[in-house]
Symmetry: C2
Subunit: 211 residues, 2 copies
């Protein structure tokens, strides 16, 4: 069963058009935003008809949800590779580096993801789950790192891991948000350096403060 470019299986055809449309959507959203990007633009820009995007993703929200999930998968891959088996303050710092690496390697994806997060914050959002679950997952990851850091004695035992996680995730969310809106005045690198310094200074167990 040979597959030339002229003869594809159904699955291959739809996979091809899917990725072509999601890719076109990224470019269009970067320029026009989600609202002014039309489903017709996406379909035609991907080399198909004006109707395909609607047909495939059901609705505009459906397409953006798929896009959000797709980019989120890429991001989680970066996070996993960057943090590895680290725990405690080291894991938190590594995650900050992973974000920087992600937006450096895939700035398009980083910006689009942030735009979609903003969209999903609207009360009328039809895809809030993806964004919310990502943030909840981030928070529980950080909480786990903090607990492990306390168990190993790296992190002082009198802080609440859950609140440390909330504070940390808030910083991440706001940092990426401000990076989106103020790309020129915002310096990822130095701001993250300050965050790392604060984490070490405020979380590290004092000398001889073993459990």
């Amino acid at each position: 069963m040979q597959k030339s470019s002229a003869s594809l299986t159904q699955a291959e055809r739809s996979a091809l058009s899917d990725t072509a449309m999601l890719d076109a959507a990224k470019d269009l959203v970067l320029v026009h935003g989600t609202e002014k990007t039309t489903l017709a633009m996406i379909g035609e820009s991907a080399g198909y008809s004006r109707g395909l995007a609607t047909y495939r993703f059901g609705s505009k929200a459906g397409l953006y949800d798929a896009l959000c999930k797709s980019i989120s998968r890429d991001w989680l891959e970066y996070l996993k590779r960057g943090v590895g088996e680290k725990t405690g303050i080291d894991a938190m710092c590594a995650a900050l580096d992973a974000i920087r690496q992600f937006v450096e390697d895939l700035p398009r994806e980083g910006r689009v993801l942030q735009i979609l997060y903003c969209d999903s914050a609207s009360p009328s959002s039809e895809f809030p789950e993806t964004s919310i679950s990502i943030h909840k997952r981030q928070r529980s990851d950080v909480q786990k790192w903090a607990e492990q850091g306390q168990a190993s004695g790296q992190i002082r035992s009198d802080v609440d891991p859950g609140e440390v996680a909330s504070q940390y995730v808030s910083y991440i969310s706001g940092m990426t948000f401000l990076w989106l809106t103020n790309p020129e005045t915002f310096n990822f690198e130095t701001t993250n350096a300050e965050m790392k310094r604060q984490l070490r200074d405020s979380l590290a167990a004092k000398q001889g403060d073993g459990q």
Copy 2:
């Protein structure tokens, strides 16, 4: 020149319809989001015709920009009152309390403002200036507080006030964003308490570390 409810000056009439429409817009945006709220809904919900909102504010973006400015003014009032003449770490902590107070007293306005900030992050936003200038102003305020704190010896001299400000403003932005999207799981009070603790622990000058 007496003013009964039936006989108003032109200025009074337009001021009345303006505030009525902005107020109606708040309620509608809270329920339907900015996108699914229509100008016709706003005008009619305020007791006027479907066309007034467009006529008065020029466009949907124009209305949301006016709404953003209006709520921002309220917020800056709270900030001013809460911070007063404080500087350094005290000012930063007072600003956190001011935010909590604002969303406690005016939860509607707090939520709508956050929704509008998210909207203005889109590349197609026609009112990005208001949101950006607010965040820039916040950042320069915090930087000033940090510099004053260093000058008075409260804050250690080896931190960069600009980066402290970036980190602080990132936290604020993210915190309010997460509060909007996860109102039930997010606790303003305790998360801010952790932030205050971190600020004190990581910024306070050590004993005898005078300039």
